[in-house]
Amino acid sequence: MRGESVFPELEQLLPLVSKPIQYVGGELGATVKPWDTASVRWVLMYPDAYEVGLPNQGVQILYEVLNEREGVLAERTYSVWPDLEKLMRDNGVPQFTVDSHRAVGDFDLFGVSFATELGYTNLLTALDLAGIPLSAAQRTTDHPIVVAGGHAAFNPEPIAEFIDAAVLGDGEEAVLEITEIVRRWKAEGSPGGRDEILLRLARTESIYVPRFYDVDYLPDGRIQRVVPNRPDVPFRVHKRTTMDLDAWPYPKKPLVPLAETVHERFAVEIFRGCTRGCRFCQAGMITRPVRERSITTVGEMVKQGLEFSGFQEVGLLSLSSADHTEIGDMCKGLADQYEGSNVSLSLPSTRVDAFNIDLAQELSRNGRRTGLTFAPEGGSERIRRVINKMVSEEDLIRTVVTAYSNGWRQVKLYFMCGLPTETDEDVVQIARLAHEVIKSGRAATGSKEVRCTVSIGGFVPKPHTPFQWAAMDTPEVIDNRLKLLKQAINSDRSLGRAIGFRYHDGQPSLIEGLLARGDRRVAAVIREAWAMGGRFDGWSEHFSYQRWLEACTNAGVDIWWYTTREREESEVLPWDHLDSGLDKEWLWKDWQDALTEYEQDDCRWTPCFDCGVCPSMDTHIQIGPTGRKLLPLTVV
């Protein structure tokens, strides 16, 4: 019977696996509804381990938005570790939800949120364990409609074969619209089968159904065109934008897990979108325009969220939280309110200026000044102009010294390696910068105790960014630069000892690059890598570069053509028919500006520079200040 619990079978396996609690559910905030009370049933997945997937805001928000509706039911599933996967296969236990332990294959819709392309193999594991054919073409009305979302869905072509649909952009309203379409179709007796429901979804013009589009290729392998293969679907599919975040104050009832997860805190998104214009940043490009949540809504969400969850930490999240127009009052107000309560507040701080330190001081009144993070991203002024991260070296040193002088002993500096036009010299400059930071810090504090950690991430060019045309460097080049950097850091032993160095090698980035900018032909690589045992590719202990290279060979795909090849302006990109609102001509111009090291301002404070998003999406910047304070003053 559909919707029945598989827990009795699963229960037999749990004593045999590590951390069984992650498969049991029972979180505060979880909703369990009787199967028959719903006419549309969703299963939502974050395709990684529970400890990473559970805190995901996107899934939590959609889970709550859907479950608040009568007649709609949403449950969650996460990737199972290989130990349980094997036992499930041996014992015929299907992919299950953690809420009611129902089989994933029983649901109407299977929504999967991709924050990173390295989760693609985990999608295949889940589909396979759920008994859902990997190829969308082989599915019948008995199978769930597989819908991809999240940032990676802005180029779902490499997984087009495995999904039925993709939603671009914000999900709050999209899931409700999809729910309504499916509800009606089911109420009518599911006319026309799978094709009909997918067609109804595609006609919204904001849900991409890959099967209704054909891709033609040129003799040299580039794409000639992507066109609808039937007359009644749109040429381009547009992203969704949720306006007025105050009207969508989710999560209201955050999920509080029993298992340990990567973020043990109540997270409030204080704004969505970012127009700083960092050219490497896909998130900043595809989530425009900036939409702030007001100080009063944030204050209420924090209060309710803490009361509901019992969490002791609040994270004020966004792509650049210090940029909120009311951030000063917000931090001060929250610090006042929770002073002496053991509640700690955190602000992922990536902006490099003194204002950030003021905020951090407010948030650490309890005296715990453990660490501050800044993200200059590039080691030389030149490369920072290329990536449009407008931080001068002077600013950076002054900011870090201010932090040291105010009691912080440890700062973390984030950089990227493998950026377009980057030379060995640009990367070695990171060492000089770190040395300056320590020298100035020692001078200002008179102490040898100051430390900094240099953390390096590999650059991956992403669709819908000015760097979508850029060539990647090979892992050998990246690894060599990191080696040079390490030598440069340690060239002065006294300074080197005060500097921690953390990095990832270049191999996972190359595979991420293949998957990020791939087209439909890359699906064969994913299928092959998965068949060869590929699981949890975002985890270094599970990732295998060799396996991916072999999978490329077996699938007849030239990985270098997709990664280290620079694209030309006229090339049709696999995602050109997917509309993020960004004008392709503007993106090209911004790419040319990058190559000539010309910077672009932020449209919140300077005139519009015509990136194209607002007019094409009929949206506008929503920022304060509202002039209101955090909470009404109460009479003591």
């Binding site: 004593p15 609690i21 505060l28 019992g310 053991n342």
Partner: protein
């Protein structure tokens, strides 16, 4: 500072909660229920919660214990209700009493009463293994400790082990049930160590994982009874009430 002693249960699917998981959950529940928990002094204050020996992950329990230090006096029954509501169903508060005695709660927990279900094991096979086990003076088993593999004797800690009648045959699958009283010793002897012992002495075949539940914990009397560890505090409260 008021001290209260809490008995709680770990039931059903939530028996897979590890001790660390439970420690986080109870701390959050304390904040949700606005329990006036006392904090330790120092740079990183910790809430005053002390746990007594926890049942292993995957083992259900009707009798786990912890003690809380409170900055304000709270009515124990009220606290039990509030805390229970703030915890996930399956982690249930059974009873709260005010600590009116000064000896440590952990010292009172000298033995545990376990019920062990062995799906797929015939009652007769279990009975034979138990008889063989009881006849031995020493039963060595191996377990993986943090320091590595270690062999130790489980026999002395087992106060009693008895096969009891179960739903054998009624559901088609045999299921032997053992009633087990084990003393609290170091290194602790857990029910799965005793099962390892049965395997060692009688080669008992247990294909399916055992289902284990701790029924009670307390002070083992010479007559083999387990005394409720909260009884002393409960009695003191009654006496106290009579005096006022």
């Amino acid at each position: 500072m008021q001290r209260v002693r809490v008995r709680y249960a770990k039931r059903g699917p939530l028996r897979f909660t590890s001790h660390r998981d439970f420690a986080r959950a109870i701390e959050r529940a304390i904040h949700r229920a606005r329990v006036p928990i006392a904090y330790s002094q120092g740079f990183t204050p910790h809430p005053k919660i002390s746990f007594s020996s926890a049942a292993p992950t995957g083992v259900a329990s009707e009798a786990e214990y912890l003690e809380l230090g409170l900055r304000e006096r709270v009515e124990p029954d009220r606290l039990a209700k509030d805390l229970d509501e703030a915890l996930s169903p399956g982690l249930d508060i059974v009873e709260v009493v005010e600590a009116l005695t000064t000896d440590s709660l952990s010292d009172r927990l000298t033995a545990s009463h376990w019920r062990v279900e062995l799906p797929g094991v015939a009652v007769s096979a279990a009975a034979e293994a138990v008889a063989a086990f009881v006849a031995e003076q020493e039963v060595l088993v191996e377990r993986l400790f943090k320091q590595g593999r270690r062999t130790f004797d489980v026999r002395p800690a087992v106060h009693s082990i008895t096969p009891v009648e179960g739903p054998d045959g009624s559901i088609g699958v045999p299921c032997a049930i053992l009633d087990l009283v084990v003393r609290q010793v170091t290194p602790s002897v857990r029910p799965d160590d005793v099962l390892s012992g049965l395997r060692a002495v009688a080669d008992l075949d247990m294909a399916a994982p055992a289902r284990v539940i701790r029924l009670s914990q307390g002070t083992l009397t010479p007559r083999g009874e387990i005394v409720d560890p909260l009884a002393l505090d409960r009695d003191a409260a009654v006496v106290g009430n009579r005096l006022t």
